[in-house]
Amino acid sequence: MDRHSSDRDPFANHWREALEDAEVVPSERVWNMIAKSLDVFKYRHRAQMYGFVAAIAIMIAISVSIQSKWLGSGTYDGNVYLSQSSDQNPSNDQMLATDTSPSIGPRAASNEFVFLDLNQFHLNSEDQKAQKKHYALTTDKKVLSPDKKEYTLLDKPMVVKRTIASVLSFYPRSFLKEKSIKKKPHSWAGLKIGGSSFNPNYEMINADDMLAGGGLNSGFMDDKEGTVTSLDENMLVGTNRKIEVNLGMTIKERFVLEGGLQYIQTELVQQSNFVVENISYPMSMTAPSQSVVAENTNKSVKNMQETTYMSTETELENRIDFASVPLRAGYIFLDQRLSLRVNAGLVTNFYLGNIHRSLDEKNPIVEFRSNDNSLYRDISFSGQTGVSLGYRLLQNIDITFEPNYTQSFQSITRSYMGFSSVPNGFGVMAGVRYNFN
């Protein structure tokens, strides 16, 4: 484009020069339509972001759990095992297996041998006899490690082969300092905030029921004079904002139960396209009574009335508020300073109300509450599965990050409304967890 030369037809060049700086002002309608589309795009973009973050987090969680499992079952055939010998007391130099719980994870995996932080180990060690026995078998060689700390060289015979050669290269040492899964049950309270995508999976079932029910944007339709004769509607992808408080406890060594209370705010865009039929009579004539119209339907009355059809396209922002009660069961894969748990559960959603807004102005057009016989069910159920990643920040406090997927089991709208919406979506929650014991 824009390559003009002298060998081109001069007629073409004249036109180009004449129209080069042409400007015509478009109607305002164009920008209004663009602005609406950008609003829809904004929601789609957010929804995609939630899905993307959740997918990445799930991949990280899966890779961490697979790696920890692999580390727990692998063997190492090397001859040299290092233990940090910063402790001056020779009786503390050696490491022994004391935790025989069938744990998974880098540190817990070696249920017969631990070779990491001796100080930490010694604090955890309960079997003094075993310590002495193993001390007698070891030699007292020292080597210099790449981190410039002194390590004691251990004899191979004293060490059971189920060791982890490269734990330190895989995980930061700080992940491994905490004692692994405790046998005694523990409980926690948590606070999480986050969001998710909201894919409404909108489907029209019965157009007549939908017309009778007033459709999605009934508040908007009420303002129209005349009869709505056709309706074409759609719910577009939106987003959820969530805040949750929860309580949880271990019910068996690795199994947990968690329940909570959530407030969910769903925002999405609804499109309605409806045709309004309006019957009017010329000014000079008085409108005939209904009985007259009935009698003369096939005669002259038809000619007396003027029927106009008006097609209206509406896009509205719909904000739906839910209070939800999630109940989840989980299985702990890793319980170190870094913890990993897989959850699945049932969420009961209580509809609180919804607000329709114009995309241009944020003032509510119409508000519905749960007792207004709204088009949404008062109670609906959905399933949720996810992965909870935790990191021990302070003695009793974890920070958590939870990618999840939610699928509704039923339509969130009432069955007689003529359409259904069975939403699903990927989400991410982040928060803090206080461990009571």
Partner: protein, 181 residues
């Protein structure tokens, strides 16, 4: 690129509504004039403009500044217009009529018309030759490039341009009551 364009691009990349509106305000008028040249009806030009600016905002992150911002937007508008018109090009068979009109029109003639009038003349051309006239005369494509882009023969492109030229000269003559050539 002007600094103000850089600021607008930065804002649009962050999906800031004010930046988007400012960018639209700055470039919608010349782009609408381009869209009008490709269509017969104003409604269609508005659709092209709307679609083009949505594409601009959705793809602004891909804009690396290799060309100027107005040139990049113009390319989007032209491509959108061509996509809109593509179906029409094939509805009407383009017959190769190699009958190139070599009449010479004086440059001064154009100064007697406003660009709105000139745009209206282009809008009245038949679909096929209107598109080719726009691409060749105003956008600066060569006939073999047009042929490749529209999947037609080079001869068709030339003959359609010739037809457009003939019709436009007739329009210029009739509106100005002057005989050219």
């Amino acid at each position: 690129m002007f600094d103000s364009d850089k600021v607008l691009i930065k804002g649009c990349k962050k999906h800031k509504p004010r930046a988007q509106e400012a960018l639209y305000a700055k470039y919608s008028k010349p782009m609408y004039a381009i869209a009008l040249r490709y269509v017969k009806a104003i409604q269609e030009a508005e659709d092209i403009l709307q679609e083009s600016f949505i594409k601009v905002f959705q793809n602004i992150e891909k804009f690396r500044g290799d060309s100027s911002l107005p040139y990049w937007i113009k390319r989007i508008v032209v491509n959108t217009a061509l996509n809109h018109q593509r179906s029409k090009i094939f509805l009407y068979p383009m017959v190769d009529v190699v009958n190139l009109d070599d009449r010479v029109v004086n440059e001064d003639v154009f100064s007697e018309f406003s660009y709105q009038e000139l745009v209206k003349m282009i809008m009245t051309l038949p679909d096929g030759c209107r598109i080719i006239f726009n691409m060749y005369a105003i956008e600066g494509y060569k006939h073999h490039e047009i042929a490749e882009k529209l999947k037609i023969s080079e001869g068709t492109s030339k003959s359609q341009y010739s037809r457009a030229k003939k019709l436009l000269i007739k329009m210029l003559e009739s509106k100005n009551h002057i005989k050219y050539g």
